[in-house]
């Protein structure tokens, strides 16, 4: 999509430069120039796409390594039950890819929050509800995050994998300028794309033997029991599918970017370094100010 000459590092600086331009345009003589700001928002969108893509590629690479390690570590847990449940596992992977958002946030929240319980407590305030964990997982993981602005999506997980899923995707994106974390809320699921493992999860596991560990500090949610590499390859395919879901189509529009402006701008103004603020209701509500500003003139 974007020329491979542009790497993710440039994307990050472009995002910063673009936001600075938009910020400066508010004080320019003659009022906000709609045309120029529109073009800047396109650059912002393009840079964000590349940035996210690179991040996920990095995560995928990391995850590949982790899976290999997992195979070695958990090879002793193999039993006939697991082999039969391989089909179930495929379906599980389909769901897991969709649920990757939660896991990513789990990992991210753990990584980012001052302390794990604190992070959970804060994110809990943003929760509408929590999907029950069937497997009696030991960790009290925060599960589905829903955007305060959007209806909870009743769509079943597997449906999200249809080709048209992007069309119905409801996305709001928020960027923290201080930490350069892009948080996307998509169909009720929150993604965070900074150094977190987006793709490993095992939500609602069938097998009680599956353990889920949320590791603090290394952003990896180690959840899969991999019996063999075939399963790993299947997962790889699912992940590719998941990547394409993240390739924002042209339906990504200024609404996403205005979300970025809103949070970025308020970040500039208030100098908030607290990451949790980004997910908070207040910031999402302040997006209206930007929209109004653009409409007003």
């Amino acid at each position: 999509m974007i020329s491979t000459m542009e790497c993710a590092a440039d994307a990050q600086s472009l995002i910063s430069i673009s936001l600075m331009k938009i910020h400066n345009s508010r004080t320019q003589r003659g009022g906000i120039k709609l045309h120029k700001n529109l073009l800047v928002s396109y650059v912002l969108r393009n840079a964000r796409q590349v940035y996210i893509k690179e991040k996920y590629a990095e995560i995928y690479r990391m995850q590949q390594y982790e899976e290999v390690m997992t195979v070695c570590n958990e090879i002793q847990e193999l039993n006939p039950l697991d082999l039969d449940a391989e089909d179930a596992e495929d379906e599980e992977q389909a769901r897991s890819a969709c649920c990757s958002a939660e896991e990513s946030l789990c990992g991210a929240a753990c990584h980012r929050g001052a302390a794990q319980p604190v992070a959970h407590a804060r994110t809990a305030s943003a929760l509408f509800g929590c999907s029950p964990l069937e497997d009696g997982s030991k960790e009290p993981d925060p599960c589905y995050y829903r955007s305060c602005c959007m209806e909870p999506s009743p769509v079943s997980h597997c449906d999200q994998f249809t080709a048209n899923s992007n069309m119905h995707c409801n996305k709001t994106t928020v960027l923290d300028l201080d930490t350069h974390v892009v948080t996307t809320v998509e169909n009720g699921y929150l993604h965070q794309d900074c150094c977190c493992d987006a793709l490993q999860c095992g939500q609602g596991a069938q097998s009680p033997a599956r353990k889920r560990k949320v590791e603090f500090g290394c952003c990896v949610s180690d959840v899969e029991d991999v019996s063999d590499f075939t399963a790993a390859r299947k997962r790889a395919k699912r992940e590719d599918c998941c990547y394409s879901n993240l390739d924002y189509t042209d339906t990504s529009n200024i609404s996403n970017l205005i979300s970025i402006f809103g949070s970025g701008f308020s970040g500039l103004l208030s100098r908030q370094s607290d990451l949790e603020q980004i997910c908070s209701k207040q910031v999402l509500a302040s997006l209206g100010a930007w929209t109004r500003a653009i409409v007003a003139f």
């Binding site: 974007i2 020329s3 430069i17 003659g30 045309h35 393009n46 929209t291």
Partner: protein
């Protein structure tokens, strides 16, 4: 002591290079005969130049028109003042965005000038006679003592020094919420259009309190905004046709006979994007900065950041000709984005026979392309390198390959010296180039008259 001796030199250099922002020329336009040339600047002033006519009997040969290529200042006036929108707390710049002349109908000349919000119609007239011999007033205008008046006299008109008067005749205000980028006089001589980022209005030259909205691309939710209008122009002959360009690189031809609101185009001109050349800045460089109908009315000329394209009105699949203006900048887009140069809006013009197109570039360079041969030439508008009446030499930007003497490297281009605005005489090979605060007028002495094909 040493410092004192040096500082005047430094100050002098500083003053010489310093350009008042208000003096930067923002638009250039010839009138329909080419006798008058108007320029507008960022300070809201309009300067009109008139072509000098050589006095009869002086080196006039048979067949020559008797006009030199010299233009002298004819009149200067303040068209727009800085304004303030109290409702939105926005300052309105006085910068003249466009000037368009009306076709001449009597001795006076009329022109439209616009800033971001308001369009004004100006009447430029000459006065070279004045009445003399009033009964009640003396020559200075003082009232006479009645006792001294013994007889009645009839005032007579006596020739006087030429005086050019410019008066505002109409003010077309409150028609636009967004920034006006184009105005275009219709061939019917009665109406004109004005375009801002999201709307195009049609006005009658005689009516200032109403305008007719003919295009509105504002989405119901501003968050859904994906493109804006960048330029608009009426067809030179068909009073029902106009074209407007968008920031997405598309052109839309609209026919006002089909519906009152021309939101649905009659024809959409769009070139499919080359997926291989996609970059962060693809949207920016594909935004059309200027669109001009050819004099014949058959072709359209558009300018985007790196190219100039000629479109045939009969073919909407893509341009018929594409000219690379400064392709060497394609690898520099990132730094051009940082210094805002990527947002520069270059204009483009046709020559009178539609055989040559011209557009501006950086480093005081401008380019001409011969449509027949497809070849382009780079010229420079810079006083240090060209004396009056000297022949312009062609320049070259070195971007690889064999370097010739006089070539300029891409990295030594001066991006502050940009040629954005220009005009071509309607019938002769005379061009006016605006370079920051200077106006250059070049004439082709070899072929002064355009060869009609």
């Amino acid at each position: 002591m040493g410092e004192d001796a040096e500082s005047p030199k430094i100050n002098h250099t500083f003053l010489r290079d310093y350009v008042t922002e208000a003096d930067v020329i923002s638009t250039v336009e010839f009138n329909q005969t080419g006798d008058l040339l108007a320029t507008g600047d960022k300070g809201g002033r309009v300067v009109i130049f008139q072509r000098e006519t050589e006095s009869k009997g002086e080196s006039e040969e048979v067949g020559e028109t008797g006009d030199s290529g010299e233009y002298n200042v004819y009149s200067t006036f303040q068209s727009h003042e800085p304004d303030f929108d109290y409702l939105k707390s926005l300052e309105i710049e006085e910068k003249i965005n466009k000037i368009r002349w009306l076709p001449q109908q009597n001795a006076a000349h009329f022109l439209l000038s616009t800033n971001d919000k308001t369009i004004k119609l100006w009447k430029v007239s000459e006065r070279d006679k004045r009445p003399e011999g009033y009964n009640l007033k003396d020559e200075e205008g003082r009232l006479k003592d009645i006792s001294t008046i013994t007889s009645l006299q009839v005032p007579v008109l006596k020739p006087t020094d030429l005086m050019v008067e410019v008066r505002p005749r109409r003010v077309f205000s409150n028609g636009h919420t967004y920034h006006v980028n184009s105005i275009s006089v219709n061939s019917d001589g009665e109406t004109y259009l004005s375009a801002d980022d999201l709307r195009i209005n049609m006005w009658h030259l005689g009516i200032t309190d109403r305008s007719f909205n003919i295009v509105d691309i504002k989405p119901a939710n501003m968050e859904d905004l994906t493109e804006v209008i960048t330029a608009a122009e009426f067809h030179p002959h068909h009073c029902h046709l106009f074209v407007y360009s968008s920031s997405k690189g598309t052109l839309r031809l609209c026919d006002m006979r089909s519906s009152a609101l021309c939101d649905r185009h009659t024809k959409l001109f769009e070139e499919p994007e080359d997926p291989g050349s996609r970059s962060f800045f693809s949207e920016i460089i594909s935004s059309v900065s200027d669109v001009k109908f050819s004099h014949s009315g058959r072709y359209l000329l558009t300018r985007d950041y790196l190219t100039a394209k000629v479109w045939d009105l009969n073919m909407d699949k893509g341009p018929v000709e594409t000219y690379q203006v400064h392709e060497y900048l394609r690898s520099k887009l990132c730094s051009l984005y940082e210094n805002d140069c990527i947002f520069d809006k270059f204009e483009c013009v046709w020559n009178s026979s539609d055989s040559v197109i011209m557009t501006g570039a950086y480093n005081s360079f401008f380019r001409m392309f011969d449509r027949e041969t497809g070849r382009g030439v780079t010229l420079e508008a810079w006083r240090e390198s060209s004396k009056p009446r000297a022949v312009l030499r062609t320049r070259r930007v070195y971007s690889g390959g064999k370097r010739r003497r006089g070539d300029v490297g891409v990295d030594s281009l001066d991006f502050t010296k940009k040629i954005l605005h220009m005009a071509w005489h309607p019938s002769e090979n005379i061009i006016a180039i605006a370079a920051t605060n200077n106006l250059y007028i070049f004439q082709d002495r070899v072929n002064p008259e355009t060869q009609l094909q």
